[in-house]
Amino acid sequence: MFETEFYRLLLAELNQGFWLSVKIIVPSATFGLVIGILVGAVRGANYPRFLVGPLNAYVSLFRGTALLVQLFVCYYGLPSIGNWLNPFCEAQGLPPLGNFFKPTAYQASVLIFSLCSGAYHSEYIRGAILSIKRGQFAAARALGFTKAQTFRTIIIPQAVRRAWHGCGNEVIYLIKYSSLAFLVSAKELTAVAMSVSNTYFRFTETFFIAGLYYLALVTVATWLFHRVEKAWAVPGFGRG
């Protein structure tokens, strides 16, 4: 059970899959945070008004439905639109626009993970902005700050601290749910684990070790978030 040859092979393969997982997670987390901050800021500040409605709809959609379903709709469902659109484009002499609707496994994963993550992040950011006492806006204006300056200097530093815990949690979830990319044919860590264990019939060991990879990622990420949270902490500043 403990032949090192098998384990050396296993780790080599898993590392490749791990690398692709990281290539999925990092952009998704980044885009997700950016989307979340922008959307959350607009929803929290209720400005510009005309955007708030559609953004609320976006957030409700991506928070209310299952990530798995979103992935499948994107990877398996959208190509139908492409197939439907292309003949039309061809007949009209347009370039095959339908190909925009045929994402690769990687593209679909990063897109959906970013959008879904962004929706959850925006909830935390919005909540954080709303939790900041109104009086601080007034005080800033009284001191002569413009709206933009108020936001940048007073509101955002507090909102980020308040939302940090929730956003950190969301990134942890992203790391775990990145395994779903396997189900849309991305060759990430879980996919590799599956193929290796099918080749050698060592299911328990393979998946257990793959699990440990994720566990390590999650633990490191959690530790990082805690460190930053402590470094930024301000005494008496609750989580709202």
């Binding site: 775990k176 879980t190 633990t219």
Partner: protein, 266 residues
């Protein structure tokens, strides 16, 4: 046949796949999903409450064990756990169950085992899915209950013991009713999350909602509409469940007991 006709909606959402058979097929899947959720949530509830009690009221070493369990089941993705349990541990689990069935366990426990795992103690995809989802849920639920337990002033536990109740009685009569009431909002969140996660069970062959929509989609090529409908199906089950839980929360509410804004859920 001009190009415009290819734009007709009928190529999209025709009633092609929607025979009566298909609809009952989907409803069966949704029923199975509900059973899956009930099983997993119950397992998670019992385990979660027990673990939370140990963390808050038990000895230190038990709290550490619970922390270890929570760390593992919150860190490893459900997909990996499903594969690990179904393809990896299932055979060991089967031998274990079979040895239990042959041993001298009390009859009600044996019938429970037979109910869950069939007369020959085989681990079906459904049973495995319930087990994995339940174990995961227990990790999250234990933290919900732990927070609720810690928010109850410890003086009430002391007063109960001063009146002559044993620790066990004090937890059962005084702490638990309050903990369960306080936890309902966070618990309905957990219900929501678990429901979304339950779709992953299709990978090991459980024929629940996702599996069935996928099957029809693959055979009829109506991928887009099928998956959108799948999303809708899950949304409906989530919405109904959360409404029920909120109604429950209103019914058992006691004035002054941790008033929570129920509007925040969903």
């Amino acid at each position: 046949m001009n190009s415009l006709s290819t734009l007709s909606l009928s190529s999209f959402f025709s009633t092609g796949p929607f025979t009566w058979d298909t609809v009952t097929f989907f409803l069966g899947g949704m029923g199975l999903t509900c059973l899956l959720i009930i099983g997993a949530l119950s397992l998670g509830l019992v385990l979660g409450l027990a673990m939370a009690s140990f963390q808050v009221y038990g000895p230190r070493w038990s709290g550490l064990l619970v922390s270890l369990y929570v760390w593992f089941f919150r860190g490893v993705p459900i997909l990996v756990l499903m594969f690990l349990f179904y393809f990896g541990l299932a055979s060991q689990l089967e031998s274990l169950i079979q040895s239990w069935l042959r041993s001298g366990l009390p009859a009600p426990l044996k019938s429970l085992l037979r109910f869950c795992f069939g007369a020959r103690g085989s681990v079906s995809p459904f049973a495995c899915a319930v087990l994995v989802l339940g174990l995961c849920s227990a990790a999250y639920q234990s933290q919900i209950f732990r927070g609720a337990m810690k928010s109850i002033p410890s003086g009430q536990f002391m007063a109960a013991k001063a009146l002559g109740m044993s620790s066990f009685q004090a937890v059962r009569v005084i702490i638990l009713p309050q903990v369960l009431r306080i936890s309902i909002p966070a618990w309905s969140n957990e219900y929501s999350i678990l429901l979304k996660d339950s779709g992953i069970a299709f990978v090991i062959g459980t024929m629940e909602t996702m599996a069935r929509f996928k099957a029809v989609a693959s055979s009829t090529y109506y991928y887009l509409s099928m998956y959108i409908l799948a999303g809708l199906a899950y949304f409906v089950i989530t919405w109904i469940g959360v409404r029920l839980l909120l109604a429950l929360y209103d019914r058992v509410r006691v004035p002054g007991l941790a008033e929570v804004q129920s509007a925040d859920i969903l």
